[in-house]
Symmetry: C5
Subunit: 319 residues, 5 copies
Amino acid sequence: MDTNTPTDIYMYFTLYGILGVDEKAQLLVTYIWLHYWWVNEFISWDPVQCGADKITLPKEKFWLPDIVINEFMEENKAPTVPYVCLYSDGTIHDSLPVKIVSSCNLNIYTFPFDIQNCSLTFNSYIYYAMDIKIFSGRSAELITELSKNVMTTKGEWELLDIAVLKKYVNDTYDLYTDKIQYDITVRRRSTMYVVNLLLPSCFLITVDLFSFLLPPQSTDRSSFKMTLILGYTVFLLLMNDLLPVTGNSIPLINVFFTLCLALMVASLLETILITNLLCCTADLPPVPRWLKVLVLKILGFIVCMPRKKKRKSGMCPIH
Amino acid sequence: MDTNTPTDIYMYFTLYGILGVDEKAQLLVTYIWLHYWWVNEFISWDPVQCGADKITLPKEKFWLPDIVINEFMEENKAPTVPYVCLYSDGTIHDSLPVKIVSSCNLNIYTFPFDIQNCSLTFNSYIYYAMDIKIFSGRSAELITELSKNVMTTKGEWELLDIAVLKKYVNDTYDLYTDKIQYDITVRRRSTMYVVNLLLPSCFLITVDLFSFLLPPQSTDRSSFKMTLILGYTVFLLLMNDLLPVTGNSIPLINVFFTLCLALMVASLLETILITNLLCCTADLPPVPRWLKVLVLKILGFIVCMPRKKKRKSGMCPIH
Amino acid sequence: MDTNTPTDIYMYFTLYGILGVDEKAQLLVTYIWLHYWWVNEFISWDPVQCGADKITLPKEKFWLPDIVINEFMEENKAPTVPYVCLYSDGTIHDSLPVKIVSSCNLNIYTFPFDIQNCSLTFNSYIYYAMDIKIFSGRSAELITELSKNVMTTKGEWELLDIAVLKKYVNDTYDLYTDKIQYDITVRRRSTMYVVNLLLPSCFLITVDLFSFLLPPQSTDRSSFKMTLILGYTVFLLLMNDLLPVTGNSIPLINVFFTLCLALMVASLLETILITNLLCCTADLPPVPRWLKVLVLKILGFIVCMPRKKKRKSGMCPIH
Amino acid sequence: MDTNTPTDIYMYFTLYGILGVDEKAQLLVTYIWLHYWWVNEFISWDPVQCGADKITLPKEKFWLPDIVINEFMEENKAPTVPYVCLYSDGTIHDSLPVKIVSSCNLNIYTFPFDIQNCSLTFNSYIYYAMDIKIFSGRSAELITELSKNVMTTKGEWELLDIAVLKKYVNDTYDLYTDKIQYDITVRRRSTMYVVNLLLPSCFLITVDLFSFLLPPQSTDRSSFKMTLILGYTVFLLLMNDLLPVTGNSIPLINVFFTLCLALMVASLLETILITNLLCCTADLPPVPRWLKVLVLKILGFIVCMPRKKKRKSGMCPIH
Amino acid sequence: MDTNTPTDIYMYFTLYGILGVDEKAQLLVTYIWLHYWWVNEFISWDPVQCGADKITLPKEKFWLPDIVINEFMEENKAPTVPYVCLYSDGTIHDSLPVKIVSSCNLNIYTFPFDIQNCSLTFNSYIYYAMDIKIFSGRSAELITELSKNVMTTKGEWELLDIAVLKKYVNDTYDLYTDKIQYDITVRRRSTMYVVNLLLPSCFLITVDLFSFLLPPQSTDRSSFKMTLILGYTVFLLLMNDLLPVTGNSIPLINVFFTLCLALMVASLLETILITNLLCCTADLPPVPRWLKVLVLKILGFIVCMPRKKKRKSGMCPIH
């Protein structure tokens, strides 16, 4: 420990659960079982003579590496394990469960179909690379496979892959810190969001499009569209509980919903304009020819109104 | 303890309460009283001579098995019990309450009528099967019966059954880990969900069906249906607070609600189409004979419209 | 302590506050100040000689009874008191505040007017009745009176009564465990629920009843009633935040609200039927005489329609 | 400490923040910095000889008074300070931050303009007045001034005053317990509630009043008023999140809102009655003279209907 | 330590994350890594002789400065680091992560575009300036740059700047306390609020303005506007979840929303008045000339009604 040769620490973890994601504070909550191995040169015994090649002793008697996770944002709330395991060749095996609340750069642009990539960087807090070296005790593929085996629950997030990255970080004092970085890739299961958010929204948009088939002469069409917009606002309320909130980037789905609302409002405004034209132009002087052509060509084209009705447009709807 | 013969640990627990279920993070919160027994060969005394066959001593003086629950996702938040009980034959009895937040594969397909099956797997964290063997101290039937007796509260979940399963798990290092697994089967009490979710939804669907009886000539029918859809959206808002959210599978009840909304939207679109047909076909050329037959046969059959009114369909509703 | 004569423990508590009730998980949160007295035969001194009949010493030097509350579901989150008080005759007085989260069989059938009865059962976790005997140090009336004096706050729950019950429980090993059970009776203050839930509901029901006075010839009556049902759905949303949710029994008030909704839907369906009858029977063949009598007698009686108008029922409402 | 003369403890605190108020559980959350001084006669040294009149030593080596706050309902969640400060004359200065969750009798009758008065009573848990005497180390004015200086944040609550009250409480065993009580007076900042609750409510009431100007002959007036009531119900939903909920007394503002709703419902019922009178009295026999006078005088006066129109009231609105 | 010369403590921190802001309780939650350096004159060794210029030892063996953050409102919930680092010249390096819940005067007047300035004041709790002097170990620019590098997550808040301020505070006992104050300036990312709050509000206001184009003769315009106000109330509900609530100052955006509601209500009231004028003036005596001019000039100008229609204003809308 207190020599000049660095201590090699081998580590791996098994991901036991993805408990949640807080998009606003950019946090990921996971639960892992962490394993460390290192060799203490001062401890060794003859397994044949002592009759056991492995003993278990309380943790507080030993030096433990102060390995922290850089992205940690909360204290560890997992139950503590009070023992470490010593082997006859001086190897010490420490294993403990950790509930990790780690900061993670969550990008929710493609929201219900998003794949997040979060890192867990393990390094010693106090020791530099000349004191402690950290290695991954198992390959990334094995860690991924083991994690997928134990993580049988099917919550909102699905584990895709775990990758290992070794880093030497040059500190400001020209001392290297040894780091090991695990990249966890998770995918959101999106079925619930499609059924609860996208489908009802498409229903309401369809109704809005079809509402142009309602007879334009009565003011009821604008009332109908207003109720539709009201319904969409209520639906936005429902959506607000499900959509992740973050101050940075707007998810594409949010832009889609705002666009839908804009289209509804636009179609309502158009309906109001048409109603105004149909109703109040009776007493006005005849429209100039160029405007008549413009209106008949363009507006008639947009609303797909049967051409013959256009002639009656001077009449007030209620008569 | 430090010999080659494994320590036999007998355990059982009594389920005192089911505190809740978090469907999104796939967690089950229970509260149990846990009992362990094992024999320490170094401790024994003559009960006649000492005048007592049982003494109680502080926990920290003794080796305690580091038995953990595999599914644990939080630290134990139950009050601590500082004593263990020693018997004259060396048996040590340790009992402690545990508040368990365990991960569990919750399947909510049949939502308000669902039965969940969660496991609690007890094993030693550090020791292998050659060091520690775990046995269930009482039969599964007795544990179930005792748990049902003490769990007098009637919350959302009802205990159905507790089963015991013994497992030997072959570790990657060819060492067996001894595990004991308890399967807890709980059933959701569904009365509240039927009264608050299913009944109002059926009411609104009934209203939607009957709304076809409203006279089709006026545009009011579409307004009425739009208000109905608005009401259903508000109801979906209410439902959103009660329905469990999970990213994986959609509960059947959710599909039912989306189907109801789809039906309402379809019936609204049909109403708009009929209104359009009734109102705007006056100035159009007479329909070809084949379409007339089609419309009269099929559309008239769907809407159950009296046949004689069909002749007046060319008239504008407001006249 | 380590003799064959049981230690008599006298205890009482003062209820300082009722912090809340969680109906779904069936929990009651209270805050009490707990007092224990027992006699340690090994401690005694001459108060005259020592000049003090009472000294205060740190808790960790003494054996403390491991008395737990059976219904406890969380760890104690109250501040710790580090001292016990010793009297010259060997009496030890230990007092500590406890924040209790206890499970309780809450029956919310008569919801805003409900009275709950929760028990706190104190017993030793490890010791049997031959080791420890627990007695109530003060009478139930005195505890109730003291608790009412200190609990000046007026939250949602009002303390009615505290009763004491002594129990000997025969364990499965034929050993008696000594228990003492306190029954706390609390009553919910219901003013807020009457004003916020019952009054608005009655308002809306009244409006629904009076809406039959609207002229039946127009389709507006159904639109009016639909808006009313929409308003009631919104109101159910509001109610959802206030009503306690439990999976077991439905509160009477919930049945009342569902009944109100059912009545509104029924009255809406009836309105639609009448509108249909009024509007669409013009072109139908005359009704058979037996049906005419039935309709005029029963339907006319229900809707309280003036008899003369019935003759005009063949006319379409808008003409 | 273990003598017959009581230890005099001087204390004061500075209020650093008012973190929140829970009206339902009747809790106040504050954050204070607490200071204690007392004299330990066994500790004294010559400051000239030792070269320092003050040393700082770890807390656990000393007897500390077990002063608790009676209203405390949670454990202290503030960071711990591990040192006490000793002066050469034996004075010990202990200071620590405390996060207080104290029960408080909150009266919310005058809700958004309410002033709350909460007490913090400091007394020893174990010691009686003959052992420990507590005095306020600084005057109430100074504490108030210091607290206002450090509490620069402007949250929902504004500190008005802190008062000191000394109490001798006669225990049931005829022993005095020495208590010191601080009364903290805080005022709610009400601007937000006025803008978000009172203003929109007044807007809707104004609309309801003006809606009587709508022509009474059509059934649209009742539809309009129904939509208004629907809007008010939605507004009640919004209000529900902001209004404090307590089971005891109803805030005046809640009564006001219920009264507004009652008025709206009453005006809607009246509208329905008038519509009924206007529409359906055509075929009835002429009203008796005494009723005619009554109606024309009273109803005409309430609705402020122009007198001439009354003559046409027998006509059906749609003709 | 126990000499008369003050201990110089150098410190700096790196801001790792801004976890959230609670506007109501005026709290800022950040996560920092804190570094302290000081010289212990009693510790020194010859690095050549001992073979190491740096050793790592458990924290509890050493005196640690009791430096607290004045604005702290919660205990530190970050994981603990059990070691300090000793250099051969007696320098001790202590570094630990801290989760800070600090009170901060949040001004939300310019809400979604607001910049907050929060201070973290580090000082010793017990020691005065003659005992401990605190210096910033790194320049403010370097701290800002380092923090921006490590804080890669893009949550709601963006770090703008960190500034250092040295303060000597004259205590009431004429003793100086040495303080160092860091000012953290953060800016809210406002895109989400613009899309979710401002855009829909502008849409609804636009609809309200255009609704004046609807024909004024029918009472439908008032119904339409009422539905619009209902939609805006629902939208206020949605807004309520997103807007920060504070009792002190009203954000400008809140004033804007209330003004929008007021405008909508005003335009609805005007519509009702016009409807009343159009409908009910038929039977009234001709208006005096001065009022006629006033109405035609001003009201006609406001509503932009075509002048010719005004002549028909005596007609009842439905005829």
